[in-house]
Amino acid sequence: MSPISRRKLITGGAVSVAGLAGVAAAGRIAERYGLIPPDHGMLYGAGETLNYATQRLFARHALAREFPRGMISKTPFLNEVSPHGAWFKQAQAEGFRNWKLKVDGLVARPTSFSVADLQALGRRSQITEVVCEEGWSYVAEWIGTPLSAVLREVGVLPQARYIVYLSPDPDQWDSLDMSQARHPQTLLSWGMNDGDLPVGFGGPLRMRVPRQLGYKSVKYIHRVTVTDSVKGFGDGRGSPAPAGGYAWYAGI
């Protein structure tokens, strides 16, 4: 063996070992700081993890763009979900007066809020864009109670890592990490464009997550559960989206 090839072999070996150790260490660090999404086990897990980790690191406190009133879309696209069952029609006939948001899980004071209770708790209005993964979008004013205010009210326990938000439709739910849940623009929205939130757009209560794609803004929210793991919900990947091939993290 010539000295050159031996040197190459040793250098190559050292680089490979360092590379492997680096990847292992990066994985450990990512896990430690919660940079790995719950659906990382999918075929495209490497890409999903890179998307989630980089955006979490570099855009943690960034605010979604807000627009002037003149940019509110005159014809926001109404993306209907599945037809409403009898229970929903009943609630609608009552003017949603009896619609309750149950907040439970890892909280000090589990509480049920009516929409009026939420309105009394806090109000934020923001003109943001709804962005669908299909490519279309519209701008609307969303009025609601910051989720952070609700979480403060119920007292989140320190081991909390995710909030899971559910609608009465078992296929319509999702989850956020605590940093997204506490983001000032994450709203439990009950108003739109200076009025009540129309049923077609998710009334009486819709989650609005303007830094992620539209499918994270689940309509007809009636329960928020604070948890340390999303394994117990659905197929354990934090959202029904991964079952259809879509990412849990929808910031891109």
Binding site: A62, M71, E129, S137, L213
Partner: protein
Amino acid sequence: MCYAPRVSTTTAVPVQKKAPRHAAVVRVTHWLTVVAFALLLFTGGEIILTHPRFYWGETGNVTMKPLFRIPIPSSRDTVPTGYKTVLPDENGWGRALHFEAAWLLVFTALVYGAWGLGSGHFRRNLLPARGDWNGRAFWRDLWRSPREKTGSAAYNVVQRTAYLGVIFVLFPMVMWTGLALSPTFNAAFPWFVDVLGGRQSARTLHFFITIALTVFLVVHVTMVAMSGFRGKMRGMITGRGVESEEERG
């Protein structure tokens, strides 16, 4: 056209080692780019199927007049296409693979860009010679047949301009316009999308830049085929050249 051959002034080396037609970094990053671009083009086309309409400005949806639409069926029944057919929804894995391929392209670009600057590859092999910075030289090389043997492996001014345009204009622009579609990226860097005229403008530009890259790809492969496909492929795979090997390409 001829460039002065680079002759080594070192006398201690007894045997002049032949420089490869393309450096190893060029060869590896070239083929990684091929893989990434093929995946991005395929999945990008798949993503368009969910909404084959393009708009200008910040917002756009089916209630608004599009800038133009592509006359194909859609994978969503909410999009009026004129077709009864609704294609199956393949957007989930399509998007995931699109971003994974985009990451591959970004890492490849970082390696190639850093090496290209550090090694002098861009300056030596891609920047046109000073004497060629004129329309006459460009015009002359534009009509040069790819079959013509120039006795030199160096790129002419048209090739250099095309490669520089792809590397420093089209690829950065396609990454920029793609990132400008990410709602979280836009939150962190709002100017990134605002200077493009809005999110829908960014989407439309992303489409047109992809068309430009695809046109380049077609011309590039045609030129390779016309100037001796096997030899050019060997050069880009093994590094062994078939033409004058006095210079690196």
